[in-house]
């Protein structure tokens, strides 16, 4: 086989693992979990698109939860879930948008499940239209493009790199920072064709890491679930399932001594942050960093390299794991005194301790 044929074959293969991501005019759908735990991440996502990339994004106050956590913990029927999703699409239609930008991975997987169902079973779409009309008087159109927020950051990763004052390079050694990624299960495990790179060889986060100067480090349990398990975390008695799954991931990534963990899922982000603390309290073990491995999402990392303030803009003080070691390696300028301050810059008070273990010094 000659060389040009091989090239073509490779291109065809890669194209199977790519997806279409809209270029502009997004209707934003927020995440229950990201709003709760990392609201700054959603704020900087909107700011990056609007102020750095010049894109149009509409943040509609009328949208609600999609009820996806209820659906996957089986207290919300599929019929109800479909109708809740239809209402989001109705709001998008009402505002004249055709492209959804989704913050949550559970929602993203859920929207794809609903869209696939409507395609395979048109009677389900008709029933949903009837339910929504009866309940709210609303009608809707199906979005032309459904992208997760990480897809959009991935699409514009090079534009972000071009504007970024910082690179993911250790300023002392000049070496790329070693970054492990964790992809939320519902990003591409249900519909691999809906994720950049598919499910097995996801590129959506590693593409950003490399574009911004870092080194994406593979590790054996890269594809393992963080352990949310929906009902398993929601029920206190079952949380050992959740922490065990995260522990498996930490054990797997520890030998590579990552400088940080990059996530695309709001829930995974929170769990990989909090379970490091919980495991340290239970087992006395810290898996990396000075007192834990920083865990950032795609929006947070994009904002960081773009020079947004870690506290006032990105809200990284809401993480249990300290981010300062990462900021220091990159050379991000920040004021440590502003970490635990309020709206007017006044000191509020501060957590008993941050990171995995209370410091003894």
């Amino acid at each position: 086989m000659n060389e040009p044929d091989m090239e073509t074959k490779t291109k065809i293969r890669w194209s199977e693992y790519n997806k279409e991501i809209a270029n502009d005019k997004f209707f934003y759908l927020r995440s229950c979990i990201r709003q709760n735990f990392n609201p700054g991440a959603e704020k900087v996502f909107l700011s990056i698109l609007q102020n750095k990339l010049g894109k149009e994004v509409y943040d509609d106050p009328h949208h609600t939860t999609c009820s996806g956590i209820g659906y996957h913990s089986d207290i919300v029927p599929f019929e109800t879930f479909q109708t809740m999703v239809a209402r989001q699409f109705s709001l998008m239609t009402e505002r004249g948008y055709k492209n959804c930008a989704v913050s949550c991975i559970t929602s993203f997987g859920g929207y794809n499940e609903v869209l696939s169902t409507w395609k395979e079973f048109p009677e389900e779409l008709e029933k949903t239209r009837e339910n929504l009309l009866k309940a709210t008087g609303r009608t809707f159109e199906i979005p032309e493009n459904l992208s997760h927020a990480c897809d959009i950051i991935y699409k514009f990763r090079k534009e972000i790199a071009a504007q970024a004052p910082y690179r993911l390079i250790n300023k002392e050694t000049g070496e790329p920072l070693k970054i492990v990624d964790h992809i939320g299960c519902h990003y591409a495990k249900i519909f691999p064709e809906k994720g950049v790179g598919g499910s097995e060889y996801s590129r959506v986060l590693t593409g950003m890491i490399e574009a911004w100067g870092g080194e994406a480090v593979d590790y054996p349990e890269r594809r393992h679930c963080c352990g949310f398990g929906f009902r398993h975390y929601l029920i206190k008695n079952n949380r050992s399932y959740s922490i065990s799954a995260s522990r498996k991931k930490f054990e797997s990534m520890q030998p590579y001594q990552p400088d940080m963990i990059l996530t695309n899922c709001p829930g995974c982000n929170m769990f990989l942050d909090r379970w490091q603390y919980a495991l340290a309290q239970i087992e006395g073990k810290v898996y990396g960093g000075k007192n834990g491995i920083p865990v950032l999402s795609h929006e947070e990392l994009a904002a960081l390299v773009l020079g947004y303030d870690p506290w006032k803009d990105i809200g990284l003080q809401m993480h249990q794991m300290d981010v300062e070691p990462l900021l220091d390696k990159i050379g991000v300028e920040y004021d440590p005194k502003l970490k635990f301050t309020g709206v007017k810059g006044q000191y509020i008070n501060e957590p008993e301790f941050t990171g995995c273990l209370a410091r003894t010094d």
Binding site: R30, C32, I33, Q35, N36, P39, G40, K43, D59, P61, H63, T65, I69, G70, H72, S73, D74, I75, P77, F78, E79, T80, Q82, T83, M84, R87, G109, T117, E120, E124, N131, L132, A135, C185, H186, K189, I190, E200, F228, F230, R231, L234, I235, N237, A245, R274, Y277, A278, W311, K312, Q317, Q320, F340, G342, V343, I348, E350, P351, E352, T354
Partner: protein
């Protein structure tokens, strides 16, 4: 009719048309096309690693159409072990999705009342009380006021700090907690919440909450968790579930 008889009657009803009711759910058609029993779903499943759980055998049982075995599944802890990661979907060579089969089984287990016969199934009442209530009350699955540090010790000192200084911290990072207009954790307006309630009413969401509540009350009475009038004491039942 006694409670046990009522439960038995529900059980009898359940056994009469199980396969038909499973097949009425389009997700079964999507999730179970032709299982060849290879077991790759079990090999990849995080729940199978943690619990005595085997999605392969669940797919085979449902595919067999054996009423007694399916009924036993509906009453068992087994169907509640799945963590819904859907890793099984990715790896199945036949494009089946055992995680989706689980959704269909859980729905039927709740509709028929079979869920109260297993410890893991009974926990559904707790999820309705937390996530279910949050959806209707706030329009969010999760709300910071419901994440009480005492019941979420794993959330750690930073979350406690956020919780105790909630409005100041959210405002400092540009959120709009309980505020009007757009933004993170904005208040969902009464008009929007009303639409949400109507959707739950029209599409069966409220009915499922009520069904889970109804069977949970029957179980509470069966366990003797009652008030002075002999009615179910659901606070006692909640404590029972939390310690079960």
């Amino acid at each position: 009719m006694g409670i046990c008889q009522a439960l038995h009657k529900q059980g009898s009803f359940m056994y009469s048309d199980l396969n038909q009711r499973l097949k009425a759910d389009v997700r079964l058609e999507e999730g179970l096309q032709a299982c060849m029993n290879c077991g790759i779903c079990t090999a990849i499943c995080p729940a199978a690693e943690f619990y005595e759980y085997d999605p392969r055998s669940i797919a085979i049982t449902v595919q067999s159409g054996n009423h007694e075995k399916i009924a036993a599944l509906l009453e068992s802890d087994t169907i509640w072990y799945c963590g819904q990661c859907m890793s099984c979907k990715t790896r199945c060579p036949r494009n089946n999705c055992p995680g989706l089969i689980i959704n269909v089984l859980r729905k039927l287990s709740q509709e028929t009342g079979a869920f109260i016969k297993s410890r893991m199934g009974r926990q559904q009442y707790l999820i309705v009380k937390s996530i279910g209530a949050n959806i209707l009350q706030f329009g969010y699955c999760v709300h910071p006021t419901s994440l009480v540090p005492a019941t979420h010790p794993e959330q750690g000192p930073v979350w406690r700090w956020v919780y105790e200084n909630m409005h100041e911290v959210y405002a400092a990072v540009g959120a709009n907690l309980d505020g009007d207009g757009p933004g993170a954790m904005r208040k969902i307006s009464p008009t929007d919440l009303k639409e949400l309630h109507q959707i739950f009413k029209v599409s069966g969401g409220l009915k499922l909450y009520q069904t889970i509540g109804h069977f949970s009350q029957l179980k509470a009475i069966e366990l003797g968790l009652t008030d002075e009038n002999g009615d179910a004491d659901m606070e006692k039942y909640t404590q029972y579930l939390l310690n079960e």
